[in-house]
Symmetry: C2
Subunit: 241 residues, 2 copies
């Protein structure tokens, strides 16, 4: 099914995904650059098929963009202001007539539904960035990781969507122990602390942090990390599901 | 605008409200009985006008049902399984042809949009039950308070909607200090504890509860409650916003 096969989708309802990854001590978000002129940036998103649940639609969209099927994923907020109309992409697509065939767009009328108001269900996802190879859709020029503190200006309310997702991630990091989804399977205590510092954008005291995390009783201690200097090597941990 | 003026609403998207009230030591939910045969019970709900935000739509629906304009209200979950189709109410309305004029239904074709799949945005609201006089819409036979532990079987996933709203209320009761919205302006410590016990459906130890609440530093202590026996009278408190 093609993106613009409008009969198969619920109209005026979309899904947008804030996909968080973590690398080089920085919390990052996957952002698409859309292949129209002038360029615009958006969160990865899509529509809901008439025969699929919204959660499965979100998983399908994420798989299309990251190749991953087993991702931590959660609804967090619905964005429903009446001015949520994607004029920029609609106008941009109108100018791409020579590419419509490749993009699965049969004619102009098949684009009109995109110029309506859309209510969008926001999902956020946490991925191990080393396992993700961002994929483009027919619409994208590129899909890249940006630091959450240095995002491009995106269409409509997409920057606000990231702000709200980050608030939710911070609120849930302790309560639901979801931060481990952003790390490789094994990590040192220091690496875990650096992740928390990147998410909260503030430093934590080392001893307090270590005590708080160990008291949660969710980490399994493994062998020491091989560093070449055995006596100073830190322990590796694994999340004990 | 009438309920069935379908051109003015976003199709396939609805709002359903879990309106919590508290009385006689019991947490209650407002439930409508729909005026069709056989009878069905539903949460108060409605649709979103093309020109209004989803949050304003929820406030409008709540005002229509409770008369209240200044209500604690929060989105909590979107329900989006593909089988969410309201066959019961659609079939019921088809049999009410002689009442269509009164209900603002011009003809059968104006009902067809109701027989589609609907994604529903769940909101929960907290009200002072003494200020609410439940109102019926054209569709309702009655609107009444039911104990959350003794709800009638409702259409589609409406009972699940209450379960999810109650989970959210429990999670937020401490963190966001929202329980006070369920009480009159002044209350005794015992009354506050009874509310918490009704929401969590379990007893709390009196001394621990009192200490925990006072430590939050959000209560203002007022005069003693007049009971006729002054020396035993408990203090009244007010939430200090």
């Amino acid at each position: 099914m093609k993106l613009f096969d409008r009969q198969n989708f619920i109209h005026q309802l979309s899904i947008d995904c804030v996909i968080f990854g973590y690398a080089d001590l920085v919390l990052k978000v996957l952002v698409s650059r859309v292949n129209i002129t002038p360029a615009v940036w958006t969160l990865p998103g899509g529509f809901i098929r008439q025969d699929e649940s919204i959660d499965l639609a979100a998983r399908r969209i994420l798989e299309e963009r990251t190749g991953l099927t087993d991702i931590y994923l959660e609804q967090y907020h619905v964005f429903g202001e009446p001015n949520r109309i994607n004029h920029e992409i609609f106008e941009g697509l109108l100018t791409l007539k020579e590419k419509w065939l490749d993009m699965g767009i049969p004619d102009e009328s098949s684009l009109h539904w995109l110029a309506s108001r859309f209510v969008s269900i926001g999902y956020y996802a946490l991925v191990d960035i080393n396992k993700v190879f961002p994929r483009k859709t027919e619409l994208d020029e590129s899909a890249d990781w940006y630091a959450v503190t240095d995002l491009p200006g995106m269409i409509m309310d997409h920057n606000l969507m990231v702000d709200r997702a980050l608030e939710t991630l911070r609120r849930n990091l302790d309560e639901k122990l979801i931060g481990f989804n952003l790390l490789p399977e094994t990590f040192t205590m220091r690496e875990l602390q650096e992740l928390y510092e990147a998410v909260y954008n503030k430093p934590f005291a080392r001893n307090n942090f270590q005590k708080k995390i160990l008291d949660l009783n969710v980490l399994e201690r493994l062998e020491k990390k091989f560093t070449g200097a055995a006596n100073k090597a830190p322990y590796l941990y694994r999340f004990n599901r």
